[in-house]
Symmetry: C2
Subunit: 238 residues, 2 copies
């Protein structure tokens, strides 16, 4: 509980708190959920995280409350907070909405994309390709999220982006749980390549098709391994 590290975590040259503490914590956990740092069923505690971050329980609490309200976390019957475990019905609904919204964002991105945007997406695609070739799971998951995010950001519709990110927030841990193998990454990279080409060609329908294909094929693998949350049972002295 060092009071000196409250205002500035050990981030080196970080100047000051640009946002409120709860917002920084929210963003941190948000990114962790999207990029696969958390597993379904994993228990989180307000005070525990507060102690890790060197802050009081209050901002952590508000951040986790928001994530709970957004469906990323859930409160168990014993008032414990954990990463939400999706049912197949939950997952199918999320996938259907993702197809709709991400397809919409892709169409608009193809119309609105600028050259700087395109360069950024190309860079993200290169990183994703590298991660896929090396079958580096963690790196692949983070790069995959960043690649999709880069495309949707080019659509220049902040609300649509935030709604898509909210969906990723919920499926992130499930994706992590399905631990994509080489086969999965290879087929998915086919869609990613198509998506990049369609974006560069300003081909709205093509970009939508590539995105929808990516989502729906990936969903099959994720859904199959949905009922295997390896974090929930803690038999003894975990």
């Amino acid at each position: 509980m060092q009071g000196d590290s409250v205002t500035g975590p050990a981030t080196g040259a970080a100047p000051l708190k640009r946002d409120s503490l709860q917002q920084q914590i929210y963003d941190r956990v948000f990114d962790g959920l999207v990029s696969g740092s958390y597993l379904p069923g994993q228990v989180l505690s307000t005070r525990g995280m507060a102690q890790e971050l060197g802050v009081s329980a209050m901002p952590v609490r508000e951040a986790l409350t928001r994530l709970t309200a957004e469906g990323a976390l859930e409160l168990t019957s014993s008032r414990t907070l954990r990463v939400r475990v999706l049912t197949p019905e939950d997952f199918d609904e999320i996938t259907a909405i993702r197809v709709n919204l991400e397809g919409m964002a892709g169409e608009r991105a193809a119309q609105q994309v600028t050259e700087p945007d395109l360069d950024r997406v190309r860079t993200l695609h290169a990183e994703l390709t590298t991660a896929a070739q090396g079958v580096e799971t963690d790196r692949y998951l983070a790069a995959n999220a960043a690649f999709h995010d880069g495309i949707y950001r080019a659509a220049q519709w902040p609300l649509l982006l935030s709604m898509i990110r909210r969906l990723w927030l919920t499926v992130g841990p499930a994706i992590r749980n399905s631990v994509p193998d080489h086969q999965h990454m290879a087929t998915s990279m086919g869609y990613h390549d198509d998506a990049l080409q369609a974006l560069a060609a300003r081909n709205a329908a093509g970009l939508r098709a590539a995105i929808v294909g990516d989502i729906e094929t990936a969903a099959q693998g994720i859904r199959a391994r949905l009922a295997e949350p390896p974090e929930t049972p803690r038999p003894r002295t975990g």
Copy 2:
């Protein structure tokens, strides 16, 4: 609605607080925003609302923080909290997403609707018709929100419903600000009648068309009066 009893509002036989205080406050303000009880630019204060409700500032704060994060409220430069004032660009984006998601919900509602659902929607439609005929603005706005909500609820997709409700949350005050007149209500009721018939006939395409027509025609009137927030400017001495 005096909050003389903190733990138990005057809900009669309500046993205890079914939800947390912050959730109750969130729901309360949420409904107020959707059904048009708040105007764009209207200032809200944590401590003020806490005093009105007879609770401490804490649960109010968390509720309003969530609404701010969801884009319903905004923090001014002077750290004052107010109902968000939409720009035309904001509004166009919201409308486009609404067309997409509410059309999707309508299609699925037409496929999933049960007889009890249909009865409920019929009742809501009757109430809406009454309010429109009497040109009772407040009643019409609340009934309109309830009618749409009833249809989307029949789709049996809770996440989709919550995302639609989040959009209504943001446009609610703007709709209120446009004070629909008799002409607006009359044309809108045409689409509402079509929607009810399509739902009863399980006509997915027809229901989507009615919903999209309703949204897009209403959007024209709302957008036109968007730049007239009568609450923002306070020239001198209130």
